[in-house]
Amino acid sequence: MNRQTSLDFRTNAASAIKDAALRKAMRNATDTFGTKRTVAMESVDFSALREKASAIRMEVLDNLPAYIAHFTTQATQAGANVHRAADAAAANSIIADILRSNNVRMVAKGKSMISEETHLNAHLEKEGFEIVETDLGEYIIQLEGETPSHIIVPAIHKNRQQVGRLFADRLGVDYSEDPQVLTKIARRVLREKFLTADAGISGANFALADSGSLVIFTNEGNGRMVTSVPPLHIAILSIEKILPSLADLPTFMRLLPRSATGQMITSYVSILTGNRKAGDATGARELHIVLLDNGRSGILKGDCREILKCIRCGACMNVCPVYRTVGGHAYGWTYPGPMGIVLTTLLTGMAASHPLVDASTLCGACNDACPVKVPLQEMILRQRIRRVSEGFSPASVSMGMHLFGLAVKSPLLFSTGERLAGRFWSVLRSAGGENVAGRLPLPTKLPFSRRMP
């Protein structure tokens, strides 16, 4: 299990940078997604589509309690049991209770970042349940004992040779680095699990208020197996995933896959409404939907509420120069990259995460990529302001900024500061190549201002 924390971001990142395989894998994957995304976007009017998507998401957030109530009524009417969980512990215990009362032993699990946020697997394993991740990437990292390093490509940091060795080690198969062979091996193992699992647990990309439906986008088909083969299906999702109606879905069907993997559409789009009734061909006989808050109602009241528009496509991390260099584990919590900086600091608090607010060059590439127009760059700035006001900015930085604030108002003080810095430059430079001075040129002896008439 990777035990990196957000507080150690700099150390985590520095060691990730030394991992040549990780850096190469990150570069290849993010470049590929970038290229495919550009091509896929050519077939739509991205700027019009994201305006529309943003407006839909914002309208939901502005009326979220009403939408949750409506979704709950409709889903219940369709035969689902809807549970509200205030926090991670509540969600985990609701799910454990459902599994226990159904005498479940083994669970086939579809991909869900919300379950990562609540550490659901660890909780259920402690309670004695066997949990098998069935998304290929999730399966790989489960075997490795890792957490996802990307919200839609959990094993993005691994290359096929590493996966080949992992499968040979853990599954007792012959080593292969052929992705097709490896996929076939996983399919063989997982097929058995789908057929024998007592329950399926999934996430959901969206929930539709007017019909009480869940919407799941997948490429591997495991989402359908998990939600329809076992007799019991539990879906866990956060409260902000709601869309008003089925009529709103096409906008997101166009935007989400294009933004995520650069696909026009995912291989499977499943819309699940209620449990299986007499005469229905598919579906779980018993369906539970767990709606997780875990701090989101609080975010909704603050100045970063727009982060809840996020549809978890990962485009912001794919284009982020920091993320593509250090990978996702360095961020130390569930969500990496620009959206991760904002969500982690909001959901876990500054005390547990303040170094993350520095993990951005403020280049703004995330703002341009976001399909629902979340102003990520501005939110990272807002979190930096919050870090200062909550007292988590290092004393040396605060002192420096205080002096800067004084000097910047006086040309005399400012130029004295510049001269002093110049005087000690050689000392700073000799202190080592990684400090700032070592990377800057020597200050000029005659500043530009003194060359001006």
């Binding site: 700099r10 990142a13 520095a14 940078i17 850096r23 570069r27 120069p321 920091v322 260099t325 250090v326 607010v357 520095d358 993990a359 951005s360 060059t361 403020l362 280049c363 703004g364 590439a365 703002n367 341009d368 700035l381 979190q383 930096r384 302001i385 919050r386 870090r387 200062v388 900015s393 930085v397 605060s398 900024m401 205080h402 800067f404 604030g405 000097a407 910047v408 108002k409 006086s410 040309p411 400012f414 510049e418 810095a421 110049g422 990684e434 400090n435 700032v436 990377r439 800057l440 040129p441 020597l442 200050p443 000029t444 005659l446 500043p447 530009f448 201002s449 060359r451 001006m452 008439p453």
Partner: protein, 241 residues
């Protein structure tokens, strides 16, 4: 035409040659200018670090140093221009009086290449240069100011220069102001990727509109032992005058 020149603290301390290149360009094209002596820094380091009172202090000082005039304010930095143009009004959005002053200054500020192309139309005159030149499209210039075409228009107007585009020219170089000091390992790794892209173009010179980024890129190129020269766009244009 009369303008005010905002040199920026990086030019003042590290790259006076860039400022002098701007002056040569102004002289060549008959632009009269003043250099307000009270100018210091636009306050971006404080703003980006979340120190709002300090950033407001810098902004108020800038507004008073450049105030009382309707001249355009020209600066050889996309990042500093973006600070004044977009973030000053945000800083004072709850104070109508100061907001008006901030907007007045914001409306007058031009990044150098925008001024040269959109106002002076320098790219339509006879400019010369030499060699193979590639261009790094710095982040705030590109994404905050939206100056995606002006620097290219200038480079392509230089007779004798072969322009070679850089793949992912708009990808960040890893400078990020204080970012380079706070997370130097990441900053250097990102800059190294940028240096690799630059070297792969086969250009002998890389240019851009921001001294901070160019400084970071020069360091990364130097670490690779590259002979690619790093020049601010003002220097590139001034050389051929």
């Amino acid at each position: 035409m009369h303008v005010q020149l905002f040199g920026t603290c990086l030019v003042n301390t590290f790259f006076p040659g860039v400022g002098e290149a701007v002056v040569r360009i102004f002289n060549r094209f008959g632009v009269e200018f003043s250099f307000p002596k009270e100018q210091t820094c636009c306050g971006q380091p404080a703003y980006n670090a979340g120190y709002i009172p300090e950033a407001k202090g810098a902004a108020e000082h800038f507004i008073s140093a450049f105030g009382g005039s309707n001249d355009l304010i020209v600066t050889p930095s996309g990042s500093c221009a973006a600070m004044v143009k977009h973030h000053y009004p945000e800083l004072f959005r709850d104070d109508p009086v100061k907001l008006q002053a901030a907007e007045q200054v914001a409306g007058r500020v031009y990044e150098l290449s925008q001024f040269l192309v959109n106002v002076l139309k320098v790219h339509e005159t006879d400019l010369t240069g030499s060699g193979r030149v590639t261009y790094h499209s710095s982040c705030h210039l590109t994404r905050t100011l939206g100056a995606t075409q002006e620097p290219l228009a200038l480079i392509q107007a230089l007779r004798g220069v072969e322009f070679v585009p850089m793949p992912d020219a708009t990808r960040c170089c890893g400078f990020g102001g204080l970012f380079m000091a706070k997370l130097p390992e990441i900053s250097m790794a990102i800059a190294d990727d940028k240096a690799e892209s630059i070297i792969a173009t086969g250009a002998d010179t890389v240019t851009g509109c921001d001294c901070g980024c160019l400084m970071n890129i020069a360091d990364a190129l130097g670490k690779r032992g590259s002979s690619v020269k790093v020049k601010h766009i003002a220097e590139l244009v001034a050389e051929g005058l």
